[in-house]
Amino acid sequence: MSDIKVKTAPVLGVDGRSAGHLLEIENLHVEFRTRDGVAKVINGVSYHVDAGETLAVLGESGSGKSVTAQTIMGILDTPPGFVTNGSIRFRGKDLLTMGKDERRLVRGEGIAMVFQDALSALNPVFTVGFQIAELFRKRRGMSRADGYKRATELLDLVKIPAAKTRLKDYPHQFSGGMRQRVMIAMALALDPEVLIADEPTTALDVTVQAQIMDLLAEIRRDRNMGMILITHDLGVVADVADRIAVMYAGRIVEQADVHALYGKPCHPYTLALLDSLPRLDLKGQELNTIKGLPPNLLRIPSGCAFHPRCRMARDICSTQRPALLELGGVRSSACHFAEELYGRE
C-alpha cells in the first residue's frame, strides 16, 4: 500500500448500510429491452461518494459506466432502459422511489452532470448567458438582470476570459475547451453537492484537457463537492482520482484507493488493462494485449464475465460468479483469485 494519505470515505459498516454517505448506489440493476433481446447493462453495481472526494468510474465502452450515471441523474431513456432493482440514495433518500417533482429538485441542486459533448448538450439557438440566466430565473425565482449577473460570476469562476461580453455569444462561437467550461458553469449554477463528469475531456486536446481537469479539481476542492469522474482514460484517473471503481460488463470488478490500484491491481482485468497501455515515459515496452472482445451484453458469459479473456481463468471461473471480496481498507476485488493477487509481492 502507498504511504500517501488520501482522504477516503467511511467504510461500509457490517450491515452495509452506513447512513453517512452523500450519494450511495446499491445493487443497481438496469436492463435494455431491445429488439434482439434483453441486454443486461448493469448487474448489481454499488458505489458511494462523499463530500470532497473524487471517485473515478473506469471502464471501456459497454461496461455500463455511463448508464449508471444516467440512472443516477434520472435521464435514462425508458424504454429501452429499465431499472429492475437497487437503490440510489442521496442524503439517505432513495431517488428511485421519490416523486417526479422531488427528483427534479435534486437534479441540478443536489447532483449535476457534465457531459462529454458540450456542443450537443447546450441549446444552439439561445445565447450562453440566456441559458444560464434562465436557470436562475426558473429555479431560484430571480429577475432576469440578477440571473445575468450570476451568469457572469459563473463564467468568471470557470475562467472564461471577458465573461461579460461572452455571455452574448452562442454555443457554437466558443471553442471546444471554452464550451466545456460553459457546461461546467451551468452544472455549478445551483451549487450541487455531487458533480458527475461523464468523459468530460474525451473530445478535447491534451493541453486543453489538462486545463479542464485542473479546473474541475480546483472547483471540487473549493466547494467540497463529491465528484464522480466517468472515464476510460487510465492516465486522467491517476492524475485526479481518490478512489477508483473499475467496471466490466455491468459490474464493478475492482474497487480501491488510487495508489493501491495502480501499485498492485488485484483483478486480472485491471492488471491487463494497465499492461496494455502504451506509456509516454517508457520506450519499446512489450504491449500486452487482452485477447478477445468485450462481452456482448445480450449474452454475458457465465460465471465471471471476464473469464473468456482472462489469463488466469480456471474451471471455476466459467461456472461460479466471484463476489466482490473485501481485501482490507476500501479495497475489494471480484475475482476467485483476488487474495492470491493481493498477497503477491
Partner: protein, 335 residues
Amino acid sequence: MSEVILEVRDLVKHFPIRQGVLFKRVIGQIKAVDGVSLDLHKGETLGIVGESGCGKSTLAKLLMNLEKPTSGEVRYQGRDVLRLNPADQRRLRRNIQLVMQDPYTSLNPRMTVGDIVGEPFDIHPDVAPKRDRRRKVQELLDVVGLNPEHINRYPHQFSGGQRQRIGIARALALKPEVIVCDEPVSALDVSIQAQVMNLLDQLQNEFNLSYIFIAHDLSVVRHIADRVGVMYLGKMVEVGTDDDIYVRPTHPYTQALLSAVPVPDPTVRQHKAVIRLEGDVPSPANPPSGCRFRTRCWKAQEICATEPPLLQIRPTSGHPSACHFAQEKDVVHAG
C-alpha cells in the same frame, strides 16, 4: 539509415474561405498546412503528433493525393507524385495506402467484407487474376487476424477493433510500401488499441512497410514511432528521433504537450513538472505573425512576433527545432 522512400518538400494547403450566394468571393485562407517538409525512410515509422487543427489530417489527405496542394512537392522514390499523368498516378497509388481513424465510417456499410477487401483488385485488375481474388481476400483476412470465413458479412457485424482490421486488410491488398495511418487507434477501447498496435508492428516487420503514423495520443506515438514530428498550426515545430522528442524536447510547445499528457501512475502526480498552456489554439485562418506558438508561449519575446523561427538544428538543440529559444528539458521523466 536506409534509403528515403517518400520526400515531402514545402507542402502548402490553403483552403479559401468563400462568402456570397451566386458569386462566391474569397474572403480569406485557412492555412491548414503551411510549408511542411519531411522524409520517410524505408521500413521506419514516422509519427506525426499535434492537436486538432494543426493540419495533421490535411497532411494525410495531401500525401494520399485526396486534396490538391496549393504548392509544394511529394516525391515517391524520387518522382514527383503530383506531376505524374493520371495513369502513372493510379499505378503509384498502389504503393501508398491509407488506414483511417473511424472504423465505423471508413467501411461502406452496403458492401460485404469480401467486396471491401477485394475492391483494390477490382480497381487494379492487373494485380490479381479474377479467379484468385477470393483466395487472396481470405489470405488478407487471415493476415490481419480475422476469420477468413467471414467474407460474406457486413461491417456492422463486427466490433470496432475488427473493423479496423478490415481497413488494414484493404490497405495491404496491393502490397504497398508506405501506409499512411491517420489516427488508426484513437477510436478504439484501450484493450483493443494494444491489439491493433501490435498488429501494425507485426505487419511492418513482415512486409517491410514504412508508416506515417498520425495521432494526437503521444503515448501511442512513442510506442510505435522511430522518429517523430510535432505540428502546430500547419507547421512542423520539432522533428527528431523518439528520444529527441520525448527525452530531450527543445521546443516549448513539445514540452507543454508532453507535460499535459496524464501518466497512468498516481505516484508521479505530486512531483510532475507541469506546464499549463493558457487559452486555445488560434484560428488557422488568422495565425499569429512570426512564431505561431508565441501567443501561448511563456518564453515569447519581441523577436518571436517578427521573425518566424526556422526548423533547424541549433546550438541548443541537437535536432531540428523551430524556436528562437530552443532549450532541452525533460518533462516526462522529471521529478
